[in-house]
Assembly symmetry: C2
Homo-oligomer: 144 residues x 2
Amino acid sequence: MEQWWREGIPLVAAMHARIEKLDGRELIVCAPLEPNRNHMATAFGGSLLALATLTGWAIAKLLAGETATHVVIQRSQMKFLRPVSGQLRARCQRPDEQKKERFTSSLTRWNRARIDLEITLYSDATLAAEFSGRFAALCNTGYG
Amino acid sequence: MEQWWREGIPLVAAMHARIEKLDGRELIVCAPLEPNRNHMATAFGGSLLALATLTGWAIAKLLAGETATHVVIQRSQMKFLRPVSGQLRARCQRPDEQKKERFTSSLTRWNRARIDLEITLYSDATLAAEFSGRFAALCNTGYG
């Protein structure tokens, strides 16, 4: 997935974003401060938003699997709690079974599904921001 | 300001963001699709969020002037309305006199002020997303 990101999304390559952890429970994506800093030597808000978007999108994409041709973000909210002066880290838990089932059955039945995901952002290990995103998956049915 | 962005924020340089228009009424910041695309050849959501953040931040910074040492984003919301397949453009109107006065007098009096700004995003000339951001300006009083 990391290679796919870097090839498909130049900004992700510019951010030097990489997967720190991906298991059955969660995904953690991190990026060094230097390419993501602002003039105050803390993380640029836009970098934090981009990292959160990428992380949520990846979880939605993993959930949709090969079924969906498109996974897109529909809306987002972010609360910036404190400046990030260390490594940028974004963490998203995989949805529970019920939420997962609702998403995949909607995708199979209606060729579309959406899911709300919470992503927490850290400066190294310190909580720094909270992001909520709604992601939609769509199948190309050949009809539209 | 453009040069300051590029030097201070590497991601802005990577996005090739530049000021299209800045006058007494509004600021328009644009960026070409190529460095901001995703694997679907439309704009990466993270790029749109970063462009909106930058645009709102610039308006808040211009308003705060030399008085404020910090201008930061506190929260944001984004609605993605349609994919961006052309040039990315973000537009923010300068606040009206009343809003401006409230902001600058708070900054003078309390050494801090905040302002809510609306940024609209376009794919070339077509409306593509709506962003709301709350920005805070802080003076370094030497006390904290």
